[in-house]
């Protein structure tokens, strides 16, 4: 007993902060000063029916989030990213109506200064649902949507220009996107499909992944993708039925299942633990845990799910549950500067901030 108690990692300190608004997405802002910390929240106020993208500053003792700067968006935000570009903080948000907003803020005072957008009339995406990813360094965005369009949006000084890289005409829908390098990115969609794209090779995906899952293993939808900067050949994807898998470009058509309801059924995936059985809404490589894994193993990853689980999973290890809420955890973000800090948005109009020891 004593031994297991010692092995048991210490529970993180959790602060639940009611927001009185539905929080659709949440991100840390890149931290430029050690004293000020900010997070950006995509909020939806049902009383007034208005959506907004808000910067909140994090205040200690007792930990709280103070509204700092706000931008009102035309419709609900479907995905949110934050990055840094030329001494400016850039926030990119795609909305359910198909528009895209790029917001700039001065890192010194973290207030929104200017905004560029592609309004919905311009037809970047037809409704519903689109997803955006902002390139590290923030000069270009990729937006994908259920309508099957893949757009590249370049952020200029005073305007946005976009070109359509691909349009499947609705035959294929995309539900997630992530940059791998300045010219490559990955997308995900229905049936746990993943596509690999290269800007230099237009006309369609360079590579497609669609595993013939075991028959017991139902296919689902990919909700989130992450690619580690040091391992660009591996796509980490999370989706329906608690499924988290990795696709190694060098080992195509053979997914490495890290978690999932059907886990353990496929050959070579025996002994995979499943921490959740419902939708995995968000997945990110966990930069906090220094893995002992060799280069052949998939790096540890954090997930959040519809059944209220926030956990770290690692290939061949027991999953570590950080949070088990009675409601869904819709999104989370790990702070790049302090990877022990995690912010996540809870279904019941609240934000939780975790500090791992």
């Amino acid at each position: 007993m004593a031994a297991t108690a010692m092995l048991q990692p210490e529970r993180p300190i959790v602060h639940r902060l009611p927001q009185h608004k539905c929080i659709d997405a949440v991100r840390w802002l890149p931290q430029l000063s050690p004293f000020d910390r900010f997070a950006v929240l995509a909020a939806f106020d049902t009383d007034s029916g208005s959506s907004s993208i808000e910067i909140h500053s994090l205040k200690p003792n007792p930990l709280s989030l103070q509204p700092h700067s706000s931008f009102s968006s035309s419709s609900r935000v479907s995905s949110l990213r934050a990055s840094q570009f030329l001494q400016k903080t850039v926030v990119a948000a795609s909305t359910a109506a198909g528009s895209l907003h790029i917001l700039f803020s001065d890192p010194a005072d973290a207030r929104f200064e200017s905004e560029l957008s592609v309004p919905e009339e311009e037809g970047l995406h037809s409704v519903p649902g689109s997803c955006v990813d902002l390139m590290d360094g923030g000069v270009e965005c990729v937006t994908v949507g259920e309508d099957g369009r893949v757009n590249l949006v370049s952020i200029g000084n005073s305007n946005l220009s976009y070109r359509r890289l691909f349009d499947s005409g609705g035959l294929v829908s995309y539900t997630a996107a992530k940059w791998a390098s300045p010219v490559e990115f990955a997308t995900g969609g229905y049936g746990f499909s993943l596509q690999w794209w290269d800007q230099r090779k237009p006309g369609g995906p360079v590579s497609q992944f669609k595993a013939n899952w075991d028959q017991k293993f139902c296919a689902g939808i990919v909700h989130s993708i992450d690619i580690h900067p040091s391992r660009k050949h591996t796509c980490l994807a999370g989706g329906s039925l608690g499924t988290v898998f990795a696709w190694d470009l060098r080992w195509q058509q053979q997914p490495i299942i890290l978690s999932g309801a059907g886990a353990g059924a496929g050959a070579g995936n025996t002994g995979v633990q499943s921490i959740s059985e419902s939708e995995v809404w968000d997945v990110q490589y966990d930069r906090c845990i220094k893995s002992s894994a060799t280069s052949t193993r998939i790096l540890p990853a954090m997930i959040c799910s519809e059944d209220g689980i926030l956990a770290v999973i690692e290939q061949g290890e027991e999953p570590i549950e950080l949070l088990a809420e009675p409601c869904a955890i819709n999104s989370f973000d790990i702070d790049h500067h302090n990877p022990s800090d995690v912010i996540c948005s809870l279904e019941w109009e609240a934000v939780a901030i975790l500090t791992r020891q």
């Binding site: 009611p18 009185h20 608004k21 539905c22 049902t46 009383d47 359910a96 409704v127 519903p128 649902g129 259920e146 309508d147 099957g148 499947s168 005409g169 609705g170 035959l171 294929v172 829908s173 539900t175 969609g189 229905y190 049936g191 499909s193 596509q195 006309g203 369609g204 995906p205 497609q208 669609k210 013939n212 899952w213 028959q215 139902c218 296919a219 939808i221 329906s240 059985e277 419902s278 939708e279 519809e306 059944d307 009675p326 409601c327 869904a328 819709n330 279904e347 019941w348 109009e349």
Partner: protein
């Protein structure tokens, strides 16, 4: 719909109101900004407590006056009914709704675990009280923070009334119900708990009448302006009021403000000061029955009743002794003398003093518990006492908490429910009904009894259903309604199905959350239906891939077959080499052949055929050619391959039939293809046959190629 019927623009009332109904009508103007006349008006319920009012301008009138730029033909307005709860905002209500899910679910699971054991003999019964109390405490903590705020570091000596978190009527009502129904363990000191309850919530009554709290707060404000405090009659009045409701800490604190305590006066007011101090000590030694909420308060605490009674008698005799003491005559400050003796009268339970010290009947009632009948009594005698207090201090206006208190004392469960529902809304009733069932066996029978006038459901189910309906109407709370609906045996499941069917399938997030609820409650048939709806929705909106995915998930083979027919039309035209990439993703989605794909199965083989054919055209590999032939034959043999594709398929394969090195098809295979051609020519006579878009000589060139291949194959064999 009075508000809507009257029209602000002034083109005449639409509905005439008769005089006798006028008093009960409230007319609200509606600012719609449309030019008169309004030709049509439609009213329907929107989400929650809102009405959706659609107004249509008459088309003829808007035409000539269309010079104004934004002249619209109509407008849709949302009219919110009711002002909501002034005490608790909508978002606070939602927080309460979220927070009460876990305690409620825990209690239900414990209840079902208990009924599974069935033989609920006394040991389980004991457990059950504890569970109920735990539930009640969880809900209480949800309704507000701790009762006592953290005391300030430097306490102002003149700070009499501490201001903690704003108490709410909702929390007060919950605690009242807990005191009477849930906390069976402390039934013995029910009056004591009521004393504490009033101390926490007396301020709430200030809205409708004068209260001791209100008097204290007022006096606190004026305290700075008073020079000689003991000469002010209000000082003594306020103290007697506070003492009458048992706020010992405050009275002692106020007594210590008495002028005789000041250093420079101490010598010549020694006697006076001695009397003040004696009273203060007596007050702080008031015996009280001990329970958890009395900890940290003034008074001497006793755990057992005999000890308490003994101490009580002793305490009273000490008061009487002081009251008869000769020192009073020597005390020359009249106000101090009279004030202090009045305090003693209150402690001795002088009805007149109590009556004049308290402000309304509940305060008088509490003072009776404290100073006249400090011993436990049954609910019936408590009710009689309340009646007496109401007679002594008839209420000038009704407060919702006094109403609740009276109906609780009347001991009629149904009336308590009706009153709580009327005054505090569906949340309180749905959750407090658990406490009421714990009240008595009789109450439990009343609440669980199935009633014909309620459509065969019980009171408990009725109130849960009502609350679940309230939750269902809001887009953020509908997801917790299933927890309440599934605890309703009779009609819960039906309403849950309605709720799930009603949600939009437009956005994936919402759709998946909906399906997740189906999974949790094993409602596979509903999730399958929802997926069908989603499939058709996406298909109709041109998201073909998403449509196919959802129909596949719901295993809806017949619809997949139907959409396959539509899909083939575009396949036939556009599966040229350039657009192949677009199709590939969709075909990938169809997954392995074991998955239900209906008529779409054909696409798989077609893809394989096209792929190998592409290789043939690019590299002329023999293997690829053989592979293409295999795919072609599979396609032609498969009954799911639509007939209209036969000719284009064969035309695409001309190169295979004319293969230079050797014949790729054997005699029986050629015969199969020839038979298909024969079938096709007879099908041509059918009126609905659609001619494929191929060159005129296509058929003859296929025939020729097949004949050539046949000849070579016969020679080979």
């Amino acid at each position: 719909m009075p508000g809507v019927a009257s029209d602000t623009v002034g083109n005449g009332a639409l509905v005439p109101f008769s005089d006798d109904t006028k008093d009960s009508l409230a007319v609200y103007p509606l600012h719609h900004g449309l030019a008169p006349p309004i030709s049509r008006l439609a009213i329907s319920w929107s989400r929650g407590n809102s009405l959706r009012v659609s107004l249509f301008a008459s088309p003829s009138s808007s035409e000539p006056s269309s010079t104004s730029d934004d002249q619209s033909g109509g407008k849709v307005l949302e009219v919110k009914l009711g002002v909501g709860d002034p005490e608790i905002s909508d978002s606070r209500w939602r927080q309460i709704a979220y927070g009460s899910v876990a305690p409620f679910a825990l209690l239900q699971s414990r209840r079902s675990a208990l009924s599974a054991m069935m033989n609920s003999s006394s040991p389980y019964q004991m457990d059950w009280w504890e569970h109920m109390l735990e539930y009640s405490k969880d809900i209480t903590s949800l309704l507000g923070g701790p009762k006592l705020p953290p005391s300030p570091i430097i306490e102002e000596p003149t700070d009499i009334v501490k201001k903690g978190e704003e108490p709410t009527c909702l929390k007060a009502a919950w605690e009242l119900l807990e005191i009477f129904y849930a906390d069976k363990q402390s039934q013995a000191w029910l009056p004591e708990r009521l004393v504490d309850w009033l101390a926490d919530y007396d301020s709430l009554f200030s809205s409708t009448q004068e209260t001791v709290y209100g008097k204290l707060a007022l006096f606190q404000k004026e305290l700075v302006n008073i020079q000689v405090i003991e000469d002010d009659p209000r000082y003594w009045q306020v103290m007697s009021s506070a003492l009458s409701v048992g706020w010992l800490d405050i009275v002692v604190k106020m007594l210590r403000l008495h002028g005789s305590y000041q250093q420079d006066q101490l010598s010549n007011r020694e006697l006076e000061n001695g009397l003040v101090e004696a009273v203060a000590v007596l007050i702080s030694k008031t015996p009280r029955l001990c329970h958890e909420s009395t900890i940290g308060k003034l008074g001497e605490l006793f755990k057992s009743k005999p000890d308490f009674i003994k101490a009580w008698e002793k305490w009273r005799s000490q008061i009487t002794k002081l009251d008869c003491s000769p020192f009073w005559i020597q005390c020359d400050n009249r106000r101090t003398r009279e004030g202090l003796r009045n305090l003693l009268q209150i402690m001795l339970g002088n009805t007149e003093s109590l009556c004049s010290a308290t402000c309304y009947w509940i305060e008088l009632y509490i003072s009776h518990f404290l100073y006249i009948r400090p011993f436990t009594m049954g609910i019936e005698s408590m009710y009689n006492l309340a009646q007496k207090c109401i007679q002594l201090k008839p209420p000038s206006s009704n407060h919702k908490l006094t109403g609740l208190m009276i109906v609780i004392l009347e001991e009629n469960t149904e009336v308590v429910l009706a009153e709580s529902s009327r005054e505090f809304g569906p949340w309180l009733v749905a959750h407090a009904i658990e406490l009421l069932t714990a009240g008595s066996e009789q109450a439990e029978i009343v609440l669980h009894e199935e009633r014909d006038n309620l459509g065969g459901i019980s009171m408990i189910e009725l109130h849960r259903l009502v609350y679940a309906q309230v939750l269902s109407t809001h887009e953020l709370t509908w997801q917790i309604a299933p927890i309440y609906l599934t605890s309703c045996m009779k009609q819960g499941m039906g309403l849950l199905e309605n709720l799930l069917y009603r949600q939009s399938v437009q956005h994936n997030d919402l759709l998946l959350k909906n399906i997740e609820i189906c999974r949790l409650y094993q409602l596979d048939h509903i999730s399958s239906d929802i997926m069908k709806v989603a499939g058709v929705y996406h298909w109709k909106h041109g998201h073909k891939g998403a449509g196919v995915y959802w129909l596949q998930q719901s295993q809806d083979t017949s619809r997949l077959n139907r959409i396959a027919q539509q899909l083939f039309d575009s396949v036939g035209k556009s599966i040229s080499d350039e657009s192949f990439k677009q199709w590939e993703g969709l075909i990938e989605l169809l997954g392995s052949e074991s998955k239900p794909a209906g008529g779409l199965e054909f696409l798989h083989k077609y893809r394989d055929f096209k792929k190998s054919l592409q290789q043939v055209y690019s590299g002329k590999s023999m293997d690829a050619a053989r592979q293409a032939v295999v795919s072609l034959l599979l396609l032609m043999k498969n009954p799911s391959t639509p007939q209209r594709f036969w000719l284009p398929l064969l035309y695409d394969s001309l190169k295979l039939f004319n293969w230079q090195e050797c014949p790729l098809l054997n005699v029986s295979e050629i015969n199969l293809l020839l038979n298909k051609l024969q079938e096709l020519s007879s099908a041509r006579l059918h009126p609905h046959f659609s001619e494929p878009n191929l060159p005129a000589e296509a058929l003859s060139s296929i025939r020729l190629a097949l004949a050539t291949n046949l000849g070579r194959a016969i020679l080979d064999e």
